[in-house]
């Protein structure tokens, strides 16, 4: 996967780095810059800003960006988490770089396979299959031979699902820019009131993108020594803990 043109143009002005995104990626890969030092949240906001300036969304480039930033985030969180996956514990930065490359290659493999599948579908689409009920005499036979095969409760539970109103929180259809700065403020405010808080309890009601940017804000606060977090298991609850000075009233 080559770096898409949209990404090559993305200029960043971070505390530890100023320059284009692909250069950032390169020097991180070459370990000239510690990933821990990079505020990935700022990278995301810069990208979101450049998107709104251009006023149009190149899906290809956006997907690529998400893929790269997700890989970087994962690498970074592995570097930051005190108790990483035992398999990954002690993963050298070189290995992490290899992981990133392996990830990009794996994705590219399925992307190529998908193009092949699409052409197979095109080739097979002109063949149409018959869909008709059996003639009455055969239908009769089939009915007479039939014995119970299904539990009727699957019907009432399906109706039950349909009678359950959808969750209120849904992905907005139109991408909206979420300000990282505002999420940082929200997080600071929450931490000013309490020394520790449960992420889901405090932010679980927000839209998914807002939650994601809040996590980026948390990374930023961690980088500045204002907060840390605790997560016992993958996908388990996240407890955010105020740390250091600079964050409101001491506990």
């Amino acid at each position: 996967m080559a770096i898409g043109s949209g990404l090559a143009d993305l200029d960043l002005d971070l505390d530890v780095f100023a320059g284009p995104f692909d250069l950032l990626l390169t020097i991180v890969l070459r370990e000239e810059l510690d990933l821990l030092e990079v505020e990935l949240g700022e990278v995301v906001s810069a990208y979101v800003e450049s998107l709104s300036e251009r006023g149009e969304i190149d899906l290809e480039a956006t997907t690529e960006f998400l893929l790269l930033i997700a890989s970087l985030l994962e690498l970074k969180s592995r570097l930051m988490l005190p108790q990483a996956d035992p398999e990954l514990e002690g993963m050298e930065p070189e290995e992490a770089v290899e992981e990133l490359i392996a990830r990009m290659l794996e994705y590219r493999k399925f992307k190529e396979a998908s193009a092949e599948l699409v052409s197979m579908l095109d080739a097979a689409t002109p063949f149409l299959y018959r869909s008709a009920p059996l003639p009455p005499e055969l239908r009769r036979v089939a009915v007479e031979a039939a014995t119970q095969a299904y539990d009727p409760n699957i019907l009432s539970s399906a109706i039950g699902d349909l009678l359950t109103p959808p969750e209120e929180i849904e992905m907005p259809r139109i991408p909206v820019a979420i300000s990282l700065r505002r999420r940082v403020s929200a997080l600071r405010a929450a931490l000013a009131a309490r020394a520790s808080l449960d992420f889901d309890e405090s932010f679980g009601a927000e839209a998914r993108e807002v939650q994601a940017v809040t996590l980026l804000a948390l990374l930023q606060l961690h980088g500045q020594g204002e907060a840390t977090w605790n997560q016992e298991s993958i996908c388990g609850p996240i407890t955010i803990i105020r740390s250091g000075e600079g964050a409101g009233v001491p506990a």
Partner: protein, 204 residues
């Protein structure tokens, strides 16, 4: 498969393209088709269709074949040859009962509780087009067509096979949706509630 030798179109052995198209259309059609409908679909005139149908009929009737052409009220249809009925019974007497997917179970439940119901209505309740689920339930004989709505949409109801496969003596024995609905005795209330929640699902 090798390509056939090119033959002049007028060769009596070579099916005309129009009779081949008619064979395809009658093969696919679930019910008899009129000559006018065939002519429109093939962009041919009715006299040409009649000639090509005669050709197809001759070709199919020529020797013992698996399908025969039938002229019935309302048009023309293909049917399986009566000689093959015993074999067909042996193959098709056992209904296929693979587990229902979530989409199929939801679609079947809507048809069962609200019948007769149209496909657009099913789609509104589920919040997604339900074409593939309706088609596979129809193929398996669990639902069947039951006339048309006043807007011309095909209506569906459950079949007798459905009752057998779910061990129901009648539709009254469907499990009570009372646990989910305040007024289960009223089918109209159930329908309205399903539709309004379906709209929320799409709107969100």
């Amino acid at each position: 498969m090798s390509l056939p030798d090119p033959q002049p179109a007028e060769s009596p052995d070579r099916p005309s393209d129009l009779s081949a198209d008619l064979e395809a259309l009658l093969f696919l059609a679930p019910s008899p088709v009129s000559v006018a409908e065939l002519a429109e679909a093939c962009e041919a005139d009715e006299a040409e269709v009649e000639t090509a149908l005669a050709e197809l009929e001759g070709r199919l009737g020529d020797s013992r074949r698996g399908v025969v052409l039938r002229r019935v009220a309302g048009g023309v249809a293909l049917a399986s040859a009566p000689e093959s009925e015993d074999a067909a019974r042996r193959l098709l007497a056992r209904p296929r009962t693979p587990p229902l997917t979530k989409a199929q179970a939801e679609t079947l439940a809507i048809v069962a509780y609200l019948q007769p119901v149209s496909r657009p209505e099913i789609a509104r309740i589920r919040g997604v087009s339900s074409e593939s689920a309706v088609a596979s339930l129809g193929e398996r004989g669990l639902i069947e067509e039951s006339g048309k709505s006043r807007f011309g949409a095909v209506l569906y109801r459950t079949s007798e096979l459905f009752e057998r496969l779910f061990g129901l003596e009648s539709l009254d024995q469907l499990p009570d949706p009372a646990q989910f609905d305040p007024d289960p005795s009223d089918e109209r209330a159930l329908r309205e509630r399903l539709l309004s929640i379906g709209e929320q699902r799409v709107g969100s």
